[in-house]
């Protein structure tokens, strides 16, 4: 066989390369890739081997060309493996998985080489920062896709990502309406009101000592309320629409902000506060010029925690009664109809929305607490 002949002249330069080569030999021994009848065509199989061998050999080229060869080889092979499984679902044999792992090792090698690249321009360093996690994430999806389809895992247990993707693309209007209902109404409103309320109560508790002693324990108690107990009560109080979900989000986001702001207000040093005293600074001047800026890292911590809590709260609250729209409503009804791909589509959208939400808050944090050692780096 031609691929066997070329094996003798291949010289890997990394452990991933060696491992991939061994896996390739194993794959040859465990021939064929699938037990089903159409199987992989001879041309496809040879191409997969050639692509992987090219990637193994890539370390012998100059780094820039080597990275491209590694990238194309590993991902081309993975693509052909996934494409070829169509029609052979559930019949993958050891050979298929060995080739998949070989491609994964080579992609790993590709990321390793990329990480050691010293970018020369800002543009290149930004691109690198994006490419490395992108490859990482892509491989989670590739392995998920290959295993679910190769092993024929029942759709109900775990649908392949391609089916989830197709479902997302096919249900954009429904998903859009759910996002509007859950995120743009309940989450945003509840997050803003809950966080602001926590912040203002923290200031009040700081200003008035008896509030500090009285409010903090009550705030603590409110945060300990189980969400699945509170949500149906809120639905009874505020009706089926988004207002009751916003109320749940307010309850969930209030306490982290309260506690963090109270802690943050004590974060300024004695010397800094004495300094304000020597200027005969008023309570509010000291608050705005010293204590709130010093508390900013704490406040942003609360905002980041709340960004994810708000999403969870709104989605869970929708399990207890909604109009026929909303992410939580969709999940609970589609589970009942065994439309698991739709559930996964909602999960993917929620994960994406949560990450964007968190990312926006983190960007604001970087801009406002640029002076903090954790942001400016030491």
């Amino acid at each position: 066989m031609s691929s066997l002949l070329s094996l003798s002249s291949i010289t890997p330069r990394s452990w991933q390369g060696y491992a991939a080569l061994i896996l390739l030999v194993g794959a040859l021994l465990l021939w064929p890739l699938v037990s089903a009848t159409p199987g992989y065509g001879m041309a496809t199989t040879v191409l997969i081997f050639i692509l992987l061998l090219m990637a193994i050999e890539a370390d012998n080229f100059p780094p820039m060309i080597g990275v491209v060869l590694l990238f194309l080889g590993a991902h081309g092979a993975a693509w052909m493996l996934l494409a070829g499984i169509t029609g052979n679902e559930g019949s993958a044999r050891g050979s298929f998985y060995l080739l998949l792992v070989a491609a994964w090792f080579l992609a790993w090698r590709c990321v390793t080489v990329l990480s050691s690249v010293r970018p020369t321009s800002r543009w290149a360093s930004t691109a690198l920062r994006l490419i490395i996690p992108a490859i990482f994430g892509a491989w989670i999806l590739i392995i998920w896709e290959a295993v679910t389809r190769g092993a024929g895992i029942p759709f109900i247990l775990l649908p392949p990502p391609s089916a989830i993707g197709a479902r997302i693309v096919g249900s954009l209007p429904v998903l859009g309406a759910d996002v509007r209902q859950t995120i743009f109404k309940a989450v945003i409103f509840g997050y803003v009101v809950g966080s602001s309320a926590g912040f203002l109560v923290a200031i009040a508790a700081d200003r008035v000592p008896f509030l500090r002693r009285g409010l903090l324990p009550i705030g603590n108690m409110v945060s300990a309320l189980p969400i699945i107990g509170v949500a149906p009560i809120m639905v009874m109080w505020f009706g089926f629409d988004w207002q009751s979900k916003a109320a749940v989000v307010i309850i969930m986001t209030f306490f982290p902000m309260l506690v963090n702001t109270v802690a943050g207000l004590t974060a300024s040093g004695h010397m800094e506060r004495d300094l304000m005293r020597t200027y005969a600074s008023s309570y509010w001047q000291t608050l705005f010029k010293l204590r709130l800026p010093a508390a900013a890292p704490f406040i942003f911590n609360a905002l980041k925690i709340n960004s994810t809590l708000a999403l969870i709260g709104a989605i869970v609250a929708e399990f207890f009664g909604t109009p026929v729209v909303g992410m939580g409503f969709r999940i609970s009804t589609e589970v009942g109809r065994m439309n698991i791909d739709m559930v996964w589509a909602e999960i993917a959208v929620a994960a994406l929305a949560g990450s964007v939400f968190y990312g926006v808050v983190a960007l604001f944090e970087r801009a406002i607490t640029f002076w903090h050692p954790s942001v400016r780096g030491g």
Binding site: D274, T278, A280
Partner: protein, 263 residues
Amino acid sequence: MTGASPAVVSASKLGLTFQTNDGPVQALSNVDLTIGKGEFVSFIGPSGCGKTTLLRVIADLEKPTSGAISVNGMTPEQARQRRAYGYVFQAAALYPWRTIERNVALPLEIMGLSRAEQAARIKRTLDLVNLSGFEKKYPWQLSGGMQQRASIARALAFDADLLLMDEPFGALDEIVRDHLNEQLLELWERTNKTICFVTHSIPEAVYLSTRIIVMSPRPGRVSDVIESTLPKKRPLDIRETPEFLAIAARVRDGLRAGHSYDD
């Protein structure tokens, strides 16, 4: 000398006892003190002798428990409310979220000065401490010596006649400290301020002061007062003259006599 000009600080029978968990600690006992306008007074002594506490009492950051004290003829609290003094702490205590010029502007903002007045004073005081050109830098982009100079500029910005300095150069290395001492003397001469300076360095105290107040611990009290005979103009190498060494020796004797360590 002190009788000729009105007293900026005058204390009599001043005492301060802290109530701690281990019982009362007498930080200051029976301190009598008069500081005249334009004097440079150093407080020197081992740790625990109450020199910082005394400075904090003058600044109304601590309340005395006995005796009387007046600053500019008022109680320390009234003096603080009228921004009678600038205070320089052991660390620069600059706000990291403000640039150097905004840090210097901080007391001016609190006093409600106009933007134009603020800008003029920032420029003048930063010139005074040789930090022109660093207005837009953040404190963490500057060296320790520059940070401390910025904090001095901040204390000078609102033009109080009294400057209280609590070991301002204690955390800096010797070379930077010499340099800043020289600049401080120059600044004192140019602005004619009254300066109270806490230190634990004998050469620093002798080099800077017109009067050195030696303090001793347990309880914190004044054990010796030494008038300096050095001229007002002091190059750094004055520290090798016999006159300087004689004063330093007297300070050292005073410190030793005041020591009541049992070990």
